[in-house]
């Protein structure tokens, strides 16, 4: 049984504690930087404590019940549109919630001595906390309107983060990010409303809508269109080829913390939306869309990899690699099989950990060398051996080395593509499978190339005696070690996530395993 306190208050507390922290910080003058940092960290740790208590309690409920929603809170919210405050956790959201809970405190720790220009820790940390609420809210919301609100709450802090603390071209990147996402969410909202009217539903709850769709005879054309709207909304967030162009700019310009949160959690909102909303509510349309999604996914894999090979900037390269990696996630989703979707969720977590780490490293390299141009770097292993080895480790993880987390997002997705769900063109998906497998070679190529150019060799004359270049410092260690450990742990014990997601995934798939 769920713990009674958690049942009533757990989720709500977890979601809104960061907001409380943000309000407290607003009341303090911005000169007290240390206080702000302490409060921000404390808030995120309290959130994490509540959240992990929830997740662990959830874990203890036993695998038979992981497919159901737990800790459900269902209250009136906006009666006039039948929107309800309906939240809950199941096996699909639990890993992502845990990921968010982990990443945000680490980002705040990293901020301790890495507040980007132009400073102002107060505003920066408040934005992170608001983001925190938005992200957690999106993962627990079980009502479409609520989900939409949280989904949009995330947008604004990120916009400011890029626009204020970003690089040289920050305004362009911030506006591009904002408009792209807003465009997608507008279509998504239209889809939600269409779903509501077409089904004649009296609720926006995801479960309710899924039942409505299943019980009513809705034209496949209509379903296809509605799914299309969601596809645009979530696909842009993922981002899927060819809607990805906001991503490299946003990542390159964003401050390190912004990039990490963007890569680790924000992108997952898109794929999570597919798994949580689009697929369960419109399974038939998903089957119709599968070849398109799969095609764009593998196009993204190859395209992202080629894009990486053309990069001269380390951070931009990592950003492009996200396009490729999210391609595997989307391929897994497109197969509509348990194996594929489990892999997709695993891929989300793994990508969050690994790419988050890579962005951390890029930020630290930038801090030391004041440049990320691959040509000018080199010999990182000589000047900052630990940093170099960590980069090497993350590169290996990112290219999907078995035994590290990245592999379990890629290989099962490729495997699932061999035999997608009934109703999906098998031959086509086998072609996708081969293309995706070729993508693993390209991934190795660009990542190792990056490693060779930055870490191997000897330092260029420019930086040879630069006193700024030092090895990993304490805050970096504290922020990174949990991520590094988890990358190895998930690599060797993939069951931690697979077993968690599997019941929930099997439950919503049409007819289970084909």
């Amino acid at each position: 049984m769920e713990n009674a306190f958690l049942q009533d208050w757990g989720i709500t507390l977890m979601v809104f504690v960061p907001l409380v922290g943000a309000v407290i910080m607003m009341l303090l003058p911005s000169e007290q930087e240390e206080n702000h940092k302490t409060i921000a960290l404390g808030t995120s740790l309290i959130t994490a404590a509540i959240g992990f208590w929830l997740v662990i309690d959830f874990y203890n409920l036993g695998s038979e019940t992981w497919s159901d929603l737990h800790y459900v809170v269902d209250r009136n919210w906006i009666d006039i549109v039948n929107a309800r405050y309906l939240v809950g956790i199941d096996g699909i959201s639990a890993p992502l919630i845990a990921l968010t809970l982990l990443v945000v405190p680490l980002v705040i720790i990293y901020s301790w001595n890495h507040i980007p220009e132009p400073g102002n820790a107060k505003a920066f940390l408040i934005l992170i906390l608001v983001l925190h609420t938005g992200m957690l809210g999106s993962f627990v919301a079980q009502d479409l309107v609520l989900f939409f609100v949280f989904f949009e709450v995330v947008l604004l802090p990120m916009y400011f983060m890029i626009g204020v603390w970003g690089g040289e071209n920050r305004l362009y990147a911030a506006i591009k990010f904002f408009l792209f996402t807003l465009f997608g969410s507008a279509l998504m909202l239209v889809s939600f409303l269409a779903l509501y009217w077409v089904t004649g539903s009296t609720t926006f709850s995801m479960e309710g809508l899924a039942q409505e769709v299943a019980s009513r005879d809705i034209g496949s054309q209509t379903q296809w269109l509605i799914f299309g709207g969601m596809f645009m909304g979530f696909g842009i967030k993922v981002p899927m080829f060819p809607f990805h162009t906001w991503l490299p700019d946003a990542h390159t310009q964003a401050p390190t913390q912004g990039s990490v949160i963007l890569a680790a959690v924000l992108l997952k909102l898109g794929t999570y939306g597919f798994v949580r909303i689009a697929l369960p509510i419109l399974p038939d349309a998903a089957i119709d869309w599968a070849p398109i999604i799969g095609g764009l996914a593998v196009a993204g894999i190859i395209y992202g990899a080629l894009g990486c090979l053309a990069q001269t900037d380390m951070k931009r390269l990592i950003a492009f690699s996200s396009v490729a990696h999210m391609g595997y996630v989307m391929l897994g989703i497109a197969t509509m099989t348990d194996f594929g979707i489990n892999a997709a969720i695993f891929g989300m977590v793994a990508h969050g950990l690994i790419t988050g780490m890579l962005f951390f490293i890029a930020g630290s390299v930038k801090e030391r060398y004041h440049t990320l141009e691959i040509k000018r770097l080199g010999g990182l292993l000589v000047q900052a051996p630990h940093l170099g080895w960590i980069l090497g480790f993350c590169v290996m993880a990112s290219l999907g080395l078995p035994g590290l987390a990245g592999f379990w997002g890629e290989f099962p997705a490729i495997l699932a593509a061999y035999e997608p769900a009934a109703g999906i063109n098998q031959t086509l998906f086998r072609v996708y499978m081969v293309i995706a497998a070729i993508g693993t070679v390209l991934a190795a190529a660009y990542l190792l190339w990056l490693l060779q150019r930055t870490a191997f060799g000897t330092p260029s004359e420019e930086f040879e005696d630069d006193p700024h270049i030092h090895d990993v410092v304490l805050t970096e260690w504290i922020a990174w070690i949990p991520l590094l450990i988890l990358i190895v742990l998930f690599g060797f014990v993939p069951g931690i996530i697979f077993n968690l997601t599997d019941p929930a995934v099997s439950a919503f798939l049409p007819g289970g395993t084909p």
């Binding site: 080629l306 990069q311 070729i438 190529a445 060779q452 191997f456 599997d502």
Partner: protein, 780 residues
């Protein structure tokens, strides 16, 4: 359709030694050693080898214990079968059985199933030991002694579940260990060679700037390799396969300050990744074909019993062949292996000669039924496996002739010998292939370590022509061990290589009276040619290195004990290892220990392995092959002897026909340029991928996709500007401005009312209120 012959003995099966269930400890020790070295070695300033060497010794002892138990176990199972055999009877009346045996075209039976009912054990999720000693063989071909091997002993736990647990209709993905002849054999080889390399390294890499990392990666490599070797599922094999790859990457690039080294490391990794496409896809095909399982036994049984169609198996086998080609350096994906010599020499010995590169061969052996059935090895005359192996052993051997670098010669020799093993498996000579793997590991490790010892004496140079020559007198121990190992490699009786090579040639089934699984003329030809070439290029190496006059500028000296003792141990192995599998027909030894290795390693009478024919050994073949090798060696010896007589310092005839004849010169250039494969890969394929393809994709991104977005953005802005300028400012604002003008004029009038006196305002307000009240009263 299963065609098992379910004849079970009535008496209790032989107990499985408990030690087989804890064999996971062996890789675990090495993994722990890796972690310990990384964490503690520098911090507590413990020399890394103080952690690494005890760990590898413990592993080796454990491996020996496993091997001892396995040997006893094989004997027990065979005995139990012998005694239980009479109790068995054919169930004549059983129609299914009769149909099963009738189906079998070749009149061979399929042995006892090694699969127990997994579902019974799956839900407990813990160590469900599935070991069943097979008690019987269906029926035995007449005239052949009944030989029944034990089933692989598998111990596994659930790694993760998919689609619910197996009990609820999903599948459990298992991870565990599989102990059988093949894995025990490699377990011993890996730990043995690794141990010697560890010892050798304490001297050889002493004082290296990354001594600690070196030993850490040696440990990690050994752990990964053992993990791979002991895999019980194909998924686990993929994991181990790639982990050894990454250790190889790290160790090739050990001196990463120099770009050629890191280039070589990258090349090795990327080439292997190319092959891994095949590995992934092949394993995926087998997973689905065998009914959603990664279990090696299940896949093998499905292949043997015909549960998987031959076409599917062929496609899977072709995919896996790509993986084998990359990992085991087969043509055309071999190019990384010679470059991998950029790593420290002991690493070359351990990883790029003795153990990791045989992973491909091991993979074929592990999934032998897939290849055997898929390529229809039985009774054919050529198949992809034999062809690839054949081309590799000749192509690699030829390249060995033109190298200046002693390690490169050995590398190409490794390529060539790996081709030999693949060829052996391709012609159906399973045991011969495995035996060659075994012997080759020993003598090739000896050769590499010998080369290391030589270079240790010559200022770390590997250039035979510039820095060596005449070393025989300076370093006799190295010389003699090198010569013995070379003899073993060249197949000079009675050294180890002779026995294994002979079996492969027998297995090709071409020589009169040898029998075998088919008649592989072309592979046989390649095999004979390679036998001659091997002897020739090894003679060249020995001459250039040890004979003649010293050409370098160092002061060569014999290496220390930590280097020579491993060499001597390996040389002793190179002499005696071959006797483990002498033919039964050999006088004296044959009747006592004949085919002992085969009995221990090759599964027989169980359904996870196809029934294969063994060729009959032929004295004439052995003599011819030996004469060929000796002849080639003599030829080369005479060639250099005459050169020496002419000019003591020369290494080439300046006026030889190589220098004169246009065609031969072209051939020589072709070899020096390594068949231009590197140009193709690095220049054409990698270059264009990284070059115009990547640039085109990025151009597309920036100018087409992003251009579109930017155009939409700027278009919107332009529209906005238009609307602002003409509609907003012109029309709407015009109206507004007009009204504003009117307002300001009326304001002029009303201005006077604004006196600023509060009381005046108040009276106005009250007045207005009164008026309003009056209006209300009147109107309402």
């Amino acid at each position: 359709m299963t065609t098992f012959l379910p004849l079970l003995a009535t008496e209790s099966p032989v107990a499985v030694p408990g030690i087989f269930e804890i064999v996971w400890i062996v890789p675990a020790i090495m993994a722990a050693s890796f972690v310990a070295i990384l964490l503690f070695s520098k911090r507590l300033s413990i020399p890394a080898h103080w952690i690494g060497i005890p760990a590898i010794m413990a592993s080796f002892l454990f491996a020996l214990a496993i091997a001892g138990n396995w040997i006893a176990y094989v004997g027990d199972v065979a005995d139990s079968h012998d005694s239980g055999g009479e109790a068995l009877a054919f169930v004549d009346g059983d129609p299914e059985l009769a149909a099963a045996s009738a189906d079998d075209e070749h009149g061979k039976s399929i042995g006892v199933s090694c699969l127990t009912d997994d579902a019974n054990h799956a839900d407990d999720g813990h160590s469900d030991e599935e070991s069943l000693a097979p008690a019987a063989l269906g029926f035995v071909e007449e005239g052949e002694a009944p030989h029944v091997s034990p089933c692989p002993v598998v111990t596994q736990v659930t790694w993760f579940e998919n689609g619910g647990s197996a009990a609820s209709g999903g599948s459990d993905i298992q991870v565990g260990t599989m102990v059988d002849g093949q894995s025990v054999m490699l377990l011993v080889v890996v730990t043995f060679i690794s141990m010697l390399v560890h010892i050798f390294s304490t001297d050889y890499v002493a004082g290296d700037r990354r001594y600690t990392h070196y030993f850490a990666f040696l440990s990690l490599f050994t752990a990964s390799m053992l993990f791979f070797v002991l895999s019980s599922s194909t998924l686990q094999m993929i994991v181990g396969w790639e982990l050894v790859g990454v250790c190889s990457f790290a160790l090739i690039g050990h001196w990463w300050e120099d770009k050629p080294n890191s280039d070589a490391a990258l090349k090795a990794f990327l080439t292997n990744r190319v092959g891994d496409i095949g590995l992934l896809i092949g394993m995926i095909i087998l997973y689905f074909a065998a009914g959603r399982t990664f279990d090696i036994r299940a896949i093998n049984e499905a292949a043997v019993t015909g549960a998987i169609s031959q076409n599917t198996l062929m496609v899977a086998a072709l995919c896996l062949l790509a993986a084998v080609m990359s990992k085991s350096g087969q043509f055309i994906l071999h190019t990384w292996l010679p470059d991998a010599m950029a790593g420290p020499t002991p690493v070359s010995a351990l990883i790029h000669a003795a153990t990791m590169v045989v992973a491909g061969v091991y993979l074929i052996g592990r999934l032998y039924p897939v290849f055997y059935v898929g390529f229809d090895i039985e009774g054919s005359t050529i198949n992809p496996l034999a062809l690839v192996g054949g081309i590799t052993c000749v192509g690699g051997g030829m390249l060995a002739f033109v190298q200046r670098d002693i390690k490169k010669v050995l590398a190409y020799s490794t390529v060539s010998q790996l081709g030999y093993m693949v060829l052996a498996l391709g012609v159906g000579a399973y045991t011969a292939g495995m035996f060659h793997l075994f012997t080759h590991a020993i003598f090739k490790a000896c050769l590499f370590l010998g080369a290391g010892s030589v270079s240790h004496a010559c200022h770390h140079s590997f250039d035979m022509k510039a820095d060596m020559g005449g070393l025989k007198q300076y370093m006799p121990k190295t010389f003699w061990t090198f010569v013995i190992a070379s003899g073993a490699l060249a197949g000079i009786p009675p050294l180890a290589g002779f026995w294994s090579k002979d079996e492969i040639l027998v297995g090709a089934g071409v020589w009169p009276g040898t029998g075998g699984n088919g008649t592989y003329y072309l592979p046989f030809l390649f095999g004979m040619l390679t036998a001659a070439m091997t002897a020739a290029y090894m003679t060249r190496v020995i001459w250039l290195t040890f004979f003649g006059r010293y050409r370098g500028h160092a002061h060569p000296h014999e290496s220390g004990n930590r280097i020579t003792v491993p060499l001597i141990i390996l040389a002793v192995g190179a002499v005696f290892a071959g006797f483990l599998n002498v033919p039964k027909v050999l006088p004296v030894l044959g009747s006592r220990i004949g085919l002992w290795f085969e009995e221990m390693v090759e599964p027989a009478g169980i359904a996870t392995f196809p029934v294969i024919d063994h060729g009959k050994p032929s004295f004439s073949l052995a003599i011819v092959a030996t004469l060929l090798a000796l002849g080639a060696a003599t030829l080369v010896y005479v060639y250099y002897k005459r050169l020496y007589a002419k000019d003591a310092m020369a290494t080439d005839y300046t006026d030889s026909f190589v220098a004169k004849n246009r065609f031969i010169r072209a051939g020589h250039t072709l070899l020096v340029e390594k068949y231009y494969l590197d140009h193709l890969y690095t220049g054409t394929i990698a270059g264009s991928t990284k070059g115009w393809m990547a640039q085109a994709a990025y151009w597309f991104n920036q100018n087409v996709l992003d251009g579109f977005i930017d155009r939409v953005g700027s278009g919107t802005t332009a529209t906005g500007r238009f609307i602002y300028k003409y509609i907003d400012q012109g029309a709407i604002d015009g109206a507004v401005n007009g009204s504003g003008l009117g307002a300001s004029q009326s304001g002029e009038i009303l201005r006077k009312v604004q006196s600023g006196r509060v009381r005046q305002y108040a009276s106005l307000m009250f007045g207005a209120a009164t008026v309003l009240a009056a209006v209300f009263i009147i109107a309402v």
